[in-house]
């Protein structure tokens, strides 16, 4: 894999060098990453990039700096691969930040300038950031009867006490040694993860418990995807009953608009939504634990209705119900029925009934 990524980087450099040799304006093709160029592929159930690309030229005042930055990031990653080391995207920012000769202009002023360049490079040469040896902060935790090998160390996800294993950004370099589970339960909130972890839910129900802590990181999504793909484990997503929770589910399942180019590598189209649905609020008598939906919630819900990947009868019904009732509920609302209601009643019932949204 590394060899392929290296060669892609070298090809990019060679392309630019050829332009220079031919005295042509050096340029790079970069697929456009905007909603206008994001397509929902019904066949694969994923968001993918369309075929619109933009050329980034060196001899264009508006492009020149970004062109330089792209080449700098590419050569930085090449060096990482050559030396087989990793760097966080923040490390990279600091490493590449310098003042250009005879000026007071910096190569990069903020990390917010270098981060999108990484994504540009990903789409331009069709590799993943993780494959470029760039890492991000760990986000997301996991627990279950799984043993892995990570950089030579064996780690047993069932023996981590009150915590779980923090999911790194470079999940593709992790080797699974033993996976003993029937399904994966992804929980949007850390609080929900804590509840289920303490209740030994993963032990009792023989599952792998993943906490995303909000919008899942790329590492977390890749982990979910690998468990689904390599061990054929069903994936159930458990989020708040609101527009944001629903969208988190869709990101895990179909990919996100901003990272549409990596959907095929980190999305899990087989993922299903276990709850909390709006109907659950009524079915499980949680009405007293609901929150009034704000204007932004309603607005966002209306946007969801328009997304191709939510254009399924059950989903339309749920979202319309949210808009109609003007309420939302957090997963913690289940505690209204008792602290162990979630792990002992709600989830087992849902799993038993196979009551999922797809």
């Amino acid at each position: 894999m590394t060899a392929k990524v290296k060669s892609e980087l070298e090809k990019l450099g060679q392309k630019v060098l050829n332009d220079i040799e031919k005295k042509e304006n050096p340029n790079i093709d970069i697929p456009i990453r905007a909603l206008s160029n994001v397509v929902f592929d019904k066949k694969s159930g994923q968001l993918t990039l369309g075929n619109k690309t933009a050329k980034r030229y060196f001899f264009n005042v508006a492009h020149a700096k970004k062109f330089m930055q792209t080449m700098m990031v590419a050569s930085f990653c090449k060096s990482l691969l050559d030396e087989n080391i990793h760097a966080s995207i923040r490390d990279m920012y600091y490493n590449l930040k310098r003042t250009l000769a005879d000026s007071n202009e910096n190569t990069f002023d903020e990390q917010s300038e270098s981060d999108p360049i990484i994504v540009d490079l990903e789409v331009a040469i069709d590799v993943l950031r993780e494959q470029l040896h760039l890492t991000t902060d760990r986000k997301g935790i996991v627990a279950g009867n799984v043993t892995i090998e990570d950089r030579g160390d064996r780690i047993d996800w069932s023996k981590l006490g009150s915590g779980g294993w923090s999911i790194p950004s470079t999940v593709d370099e992790v080797d699974f040694k033993k996976v003993d589970a029937d399904f994966v339960l992804v929980v949007e909130k850390n609080a929900g993860f804590e509840r289920l972890h303490e209740d030994k839910f993963w032990q009792k129900r023989k599952c792998i418990l993943v906490g995303t802590g909000g919008q899942p990181s790329r590492g977390t999504r890749l982990l979910i995807q690998r468990l689904n793909d390599e061990y054929k484990l069903p994936v159930y997503v458990f989020t708040d009953s609101d527009s944001y929770g629903f969208y988190i589910y869709s990101v895990i399942k179909s990919g996100s608009i901003s990272l549409a180019h990596v959907s095929d590598r980190i999305a899990t189209p087989e993922a299903k939504f276990i709850g909390l649905t709006v109907s659950d609020i009524f079915d499980y008598d949680l009405k007293k634990a609901t929150i009034k939906a704000k204007d932004v919630d309603i607005k966002r819900a209306k946007e969801l209705l328009e997304y191709d990947w939510f254009k399924k009868p059950k989903w339309q019904k749920e979202i319309n119900l949210l808009i109609e009732k003007g309420i939302k509920a957090e997963i913690e609302a289940l505690s209204h029925r008792g602290l162990k209601f979630m792990s002992e009643t709600y989830l087992p019932e849902k799993l038993k009934k196979g009551d999922f949204l797809d």
Partner: protein, 556 residues
Amino acid sequence: MAVKKTAEEFAKEQKEISVSEFFEKNKHLLGFDNPTKSLLMAVKEAVDNSLDACEEAGIVPDISVRIKNIKEDIFTVTVQDNGPGIVKEQIPRIFGKLLYGSKFHRLRQSRGQQGIGISSVTLYSQLTTGEPTRVWSKVESQKKTYYIELHLNTMKNEPDILKQEDIDKDMLDGHGVKVEMTLHGRHRKIVEDYLKQTSISNPFAKISYTAPDGTKMAFPRSLNDLPKPPKTMKPHPYGVEFGTLQRMLQKTSSRTLLSFMTNEFSSVGSQSAKEICKISKVPEDTKPAEMDRTMIEKIIRAMQAVKIQRPPLDCLSTIGSEELEKSLKKEYPNAEFVTAINRDPDVYRGFPFMIEIGIVYGFQDAAEKKNGKKKNDDDDDEKSNEAIDLIRFANRVPLMYQQSACGLTEAVKGVDWKRYNLDQKGSNLPSGPMKLVVHICSVWVPFMSESKEAVASYPEIIKETKLALQDAGRKLSSYLSGKHRAGEAKRRIQIFERYSKEVAESVGILTKKSEKEIEKKIKDMISSRVHTKEEFADGSEEKAVEKKEIKDEKKK
């Protein structure tokens, strides 16, 4: 209880105040407000006199100025010229009597006007240090140099000669004056500024300067010829005042009012003279000496009512637009743009005057860079926030103080500089890397005070100055808009050059090729692209292009 005083007792206390005593108590009226200014005054008065003397004698001036710090705040100023020298008999009064001079009673453009200047320095020196003024004078016809030490007797307003002798000491060129004064002062850069500005407005003068710390500075001449000497002008009726007219009537040798007017005034022919008499109802054949108050007043009123030709203009001596431009280029050799213009002469209150403007834009003056602040290439076409430097001249004399009170400044502020591509906040001085020279020359420059630092705001002067500034502004504006276009291209080249090193380095790492060679190739491309004017056009955003092949390739 108040003690009563009789009128007789009062009378004992009332006595004449000599002019010298008056100025002794009111030094500020002559410009000696503070030590810095006092030192400058000494230099300025001596240099102005030297320049006037040389010019009148038709000698190309060569002036040397030296300031020595005797102790703490005591300085000795020495100014030497190659002028015609001054005859023995005149020296004591020129240097030791206030209001004595050759320039007051005539209407001719000169630096000095009132005959106060140099003698006031003698007064100030003796007041602050007790030291006499020392003068060496060599007239070409005499073999020996005359040396004199003198004080000013403030009670009598007469010179007190302490020592005088003929000595064997030759002067530069065989003639000239050297004056030395020791006074209380403080040395600041303003002396240098004054000399530099003097050199700008007197391009034919060579000035050398030795500062108290021994630093030598030379202000060479940029012209080898003296300007055409200005002619003396007779008063013009529009500018005449009661006292002046009264004095003229007493002194005249004309026998009738009519001939008095045609002889003693400029631009008055018998036609206009007759008309003045007719309107004023004063008989044409009235004897001048017999005119009474009422008649004089009537005549003055009639003079203003009659249409009289403007005064002759050959009494003005301008720097000249070409000469000023040349002179500015000499002083600011690195300036981006230098221009100078002059207007046709105009008249205020019967006095002809003329405005000249010089502009130095984008100057680089090492000494004037503030705190070594590094000027960035990027800032080239950005406008600096600092106000421009305004350099004011009146009859070639730099006006160093009271800028804000000056009518010339008022005129500069009154121009809308934004129209000429300069920044300007409200009605302040415009800002930018610019020096603006405003020169007013006139047979009689209306100063606000005896220290001659600010020109009075006569509407005619303001109006004419504004028009002149606008003329110069148009020239500046056309330069700046051209510069803006050129600057744009330059800026683009700079951008590409700045980024090419990093690009070359990165491509070098990616391809394992020599970074130096890649950089050279990119730089060649920049220069060839500049010449063909290709690709520099705009900064459009990255444009979306449908590129199916790419997508197809991806799928494979």
